[in-house]
Assembly symmetry: C2
Homo-oligomer: 204 residues x 2
Amino acid sequence: MDNPLNNPDLPRIGGKTWPEFIRLVENFHGYAAPGALLGGIMVELARERLLELRSERPVLFIVMAETYACLPDAVQLLTPCTVGNQRLHVLNLNRYALSFFAKPDGQGARVFVDNAKLGPWPHLRDWFMGITDKKDQDEALLCEDIRQGGAEACSVQLIKARPEFMSRERKGRNAICPICGEPYPLRDGESCLGCRESLPFELS
Amino acid sequence: MDNPLNNPDLPRIGGKTWPEFIRLVENFHGYAAPGALLGGIMVELARERLLELRSERPVLFIVMAETYACLPDAVQLLTPCTVGNQRLHVLNLNRYALSFFAKPDGQGARVFVDNAKLGPWPHLRDWFMGITDKKDQDEALLCEDIRQGGAEACSVQLIKARPEFMSRERKGRNAICPICGEPYPLRDGESCLGCRESLPFELS
């Protein structure tokens, strides 16, 4: 039987062919970043595993990404979870991993790139480990390694979210910050967080 | 002369009519959240102000949102800046404000909802200040207040980003974390951040 990955339209990601998915990434992310393409495969793996764990349909879920690099955009393109609707949480841990958590109990599936499985995919491995200089990267070979080897190079862990992660606090009433004069949630204290933390900008 | 805001297709947001913009928000964000609609108006204000400041074209920029609530999705829908391509930074300050910063020098325009200007828009004011209970909210009146009054209810500040905010560090080589066995950037230290911080999940 033919290897299905000889078909350049596979794998399907979010119901789309592989080339259609690449165009989706280009439009939203700005270019077909290898990390976003690999992220699409990881989203599919996490979603499938979570669905296997749950008998009820539909499964409501939230997502967590462990890096800001590329991965959040794959989630936002392929799931109802976005940063702005706060169903996608990004932790700045610099690990290339994402987790799907079912509501309300937080049963979850975490997908990560597994170093032990990168061997058969040298372009994927060298890019992922930061060995290849960007200028020396053969994008076509890397993309083909991701398409064919992305799913094989990942592992899945079953996890459970801590209860506080699954419950979302209500913002409540706003007050006017006595320092900057802007509205802010009363629950943040006597002044807004913007006036208590160091900001990356100043008035000009 | 007729008030242009008697025309329900105005204001145009990202080149789209107001009803088209609402559908865009529904598709990405999941529903026409008032915060995302107001966010679209704020994106337009910040972009216009930044373009007025700069003579060169095109202006390359990055964006900062001061809240996770809704606003990041307006930015991601209407600009090339996303969380995953790291041209959109979200600070968890709970202020409803966003800033556009021109590259490379960080000259910027910050748009915030100005409490002093909310008076003529009681539905917008009461929603924004958290006075109206969600179940008592008249969504149509609120949406109309946002459409007609959103731009008037905001103020713009000229700001300047700190230099470190405008420069993006390269990730460099990855190593294998001796604790979890996953790849992580060597610059993070002897183990990955995921193994040094408290995580919102555990293995199940």
